[in-house]
């Protein structure tokens, strides 16, 4: 799905390459973390996939396209196959949750009927059912990121890129977001998530691509990776494991795209949503609460 062949990216007017001779392959349907300290080239990697940047040397193939040879006018078609989520959510502040998600479909010319069907479906999938009419500032950080994920995924792209989606969130909320991405991954979507949050990575047992100053230093298959510091979250995850084992249908349900399955209590959206509420930064939390009480 995504293939890097000896990719080097040097930004203009810099000497050290942001990515240095990186080769890797991310097959269809995989969930991969890209980790590394700040400035190690994670965002650069994402931008190369989206053709926000062009490689200096090497080749990037995405969904069967050689990005170096992709003409400018075909870039939008490429981006329609890639959903993107960022640390700063990038929601439109004057649009409601529903409108924010619908916007992605509107600009692509979807029919009103399709929007009315797909948007609520997607909001339900990310665990935001019932919040359609809220404005972004009436949501917690975790909820805002869920809106962003819904917007990125509403078009059902085969690839989802998440560049430090949990960078602004507290650990519990982060876990909820990552689990949501995992859930999206289980629908067959290739997910690549850049992060420097090793705690979250440890909790997930997925493939981990580690960058250090632009160099690919390790690429470990699912389960190989561990930082050694197994935290509380890991334990929580294990505690949930039996529950999930009891309900194997839940994850299969997503693959089928059966909307009723989204309500299955596999622990993902409720944990994510409930967990981040008490921990949100004061302002957001208070505003959120205020609206909630005035709503009822």
């Amino acid at each position: 799905m995504i293939l890097f062949e000896n990719v080097t990216k040097t930004y203009p007017r810099t000497t050290r390459p942001a990515l240095d001779d990186v080769s890797l392959e991310i097959p269809r349907g995989e969930f991969a973390f890209v980790v590394g300290t700040s400035g190690s080239g994670k965002s650069t990697m994402m931008q190369l996939v989206m053709k926000e940047q062009d490689v200096t040397r090497g080749r990037v193939l995405v969904a069967g396209r050689d990005l170096d040879r992709l003409p400018e006018r075909k870039v939008p078609a490429l981006r329609r196959e890639i959903g993107c989520v960022f640390q700063d959510f990038r929601l439109l502040p004057n649009k409601t949750v529903f409108q924010n998600v619908a916007y992605a479909l509107q600009v692509l010319g979807s029919s009103r009927a399709r929007i009315r069907q797909t948007v609520p479906e997607t909001l339900e999938l990310v665990g935001l059912a019932g919040m359609e009419k809220r404005l972004p500032h009436q949501l917690s950080g975790g909820e805002q990121q869920r809106v962003a994920i819904a917007r990125a995924f509403v078009n059902r792209p085969p690839i989802l890129l998440a560049d430090e989606p949990t960078g602004n969130l507290d650990p519990d909320t982060s876990l909820g977001i990552v689990q949501l991405l995992d859930r999206i991954n289980r629908t067959g979507t290739t997910v690549v998530m850049a992060t420097h949050d090793t705690v979250t990575v440890d909790a997930m047992r997925k493939r981990v691509i580690r960058l250090d100053r632009g160099v690919l230093v390790s690429d470990m298959e699912a389960g190989d990776y561990t930082t050694g510091s197994i935290p509380r979250i890991r334990l929580e995850e294990e505690a949930e494991a039996p529950r999930r084992a009891d309900e194997p249908e839940a994850s299969d349900g997503y693959d089928d795209g059966d909307p009723t399955a989204y309500d299955e209590p596999d622990g993902l959206p409720p944990i994510g949503r409930d967990a981040d509420e008490p921990r949100s930064r004061g302002g957001i939390f208070r505003r959120h609460k205020a609206v909630q009480t005035s709503d009822r």
Binding site: L78, R80, R90, L108, G109
Partner: protein, 301 residues
């Protein structure tokens, strides 16, 4: 759906950026009004040329007593001289179309009658003499007449009305070209304003366009609202300008000038109808071109 969405975006954009849109409307309106005035001036000159060049005459002025013309030597033209001059003029047919004799008193009366409001009135002073008025078949053949008549005994001077008219036309031409030049400066200002407006708008909407880019909206979807907002504003300005021009011609020229100066031809509202489509199409082309070029530079896709 996409069309509806784009219409909505254009409406939102105009509402949110109302002052920008209004400034584009005003600048386009003033520049196009000035341009229109210049073009009307040109058409007025053409109209007057058509009207006058059929009517211009060569005037063969005869000597009066104590006239200042040296050829006369202070003597009035004798009857014999008159006959000789008349015969010479007749001999110049077909260059000469018709020859009339006009006495000094007739000339004065005619001047009072017809030229009282005309710009030619100032040239009237020297007309008060007996004269032969010669219509030419070709207004350009003045020299032929002048060379054979000038210097004949009893001829004070040979004057070409066309020359007088041309001075006047040159003056009008200059004024109208000045208006056009001024309007082109205003057009330049309009272009720069449109460009700045679009940059501002693109900046204020960078969040929206960023998301459009991200989800893979086509260049057309991203840029079309910007282009349409500008084109709509500037076309509104151009239409208002043409409305003002129409009012100027209708009430200023047709309703006033041509009532006052009955002796000459004036442009009418038809001339406004003639230039308006060109002006409006020109504005559409110019504003869409300007906005497209600006967007290419400042709105990364």
């Amino acid at each position: 759906m996409r069309f509806q969405f784009l219409l909505g975006e254009i409406g939102n954009g105009l509402r949110r950026n109302l002052s920008m849109a209004v400034s584009v409307v005003i600048v386009t309106m003033i520049s196009m009004y000035l341009l229109g005035l210049g073009l009307m001036g040109q058409r007025q000159v053409d109209t007057m040329k058509d009207y006058w060049y059929d009517r211009v005459q060569v005037t063969v002025m005869l000597c009066a007593e104590k006239t200042r013309f040296t050829n006369c030597a202070g003597e009035a033209t004798t009857d014999a001289q008159r006959t000789a001059i008349k015969a010479e003029l007749e001999a110049l047919k077909p260059t000469v179309k018709e020859v009339y004799y006009e006495s000094r008193d007739e000339a004065y009366d005619r001047f009072k009658q017809t030229y009282k409001n005309s710009p030619l009135a100032r040239a009237g002073e020297s007309y008060f003499a007996d004269s032969y008025r010669v219509n030419l078949n070709d207004a350009g053949k003045f020299d032929v007449v002048a060379s054979s008549i000038k210097g004949m005994p009893g001829v004070a001077d040979v004057q070409d009305q066309k020359k007088l008219l041309e001075k006047f036309f040159t003056f009008m031409n200059t004024v109208s070209w000045a208006a056009i030049a001024l309007s082109s400066l205003m057009v330049l200002a309009a272009v720069m304003l449109i460009s700045t407006t679009i940059r501002q708008t693109a900046f204020s909407r960078r969040r929206e366009t960023g998301i459009m880019r991200l989800v893979g909206a086509s260049n057309f979807t991203i840029r079309f609202p910007f282009v349409m907002e500008t084109v709509l504003s500037s076309v509104l300005g151009a239409v208002l300008a043409m409305g003002m021009l129409w009012a100027t011609v209708r009430y200023g020229v047709v309703g006033f000038l041509s009532q006052t100066l009955t002796d000459t031809a004036f442009i009418g509202v038809a001339d406004v109808y003639y230039v308006a489509p060109f002006v409006i199409v020109g504005v559409i082309v110019l504003s869409s071109l300007t906005s497209w070029v600006t967007l290419r530079r400042y709105l990364r896709v």
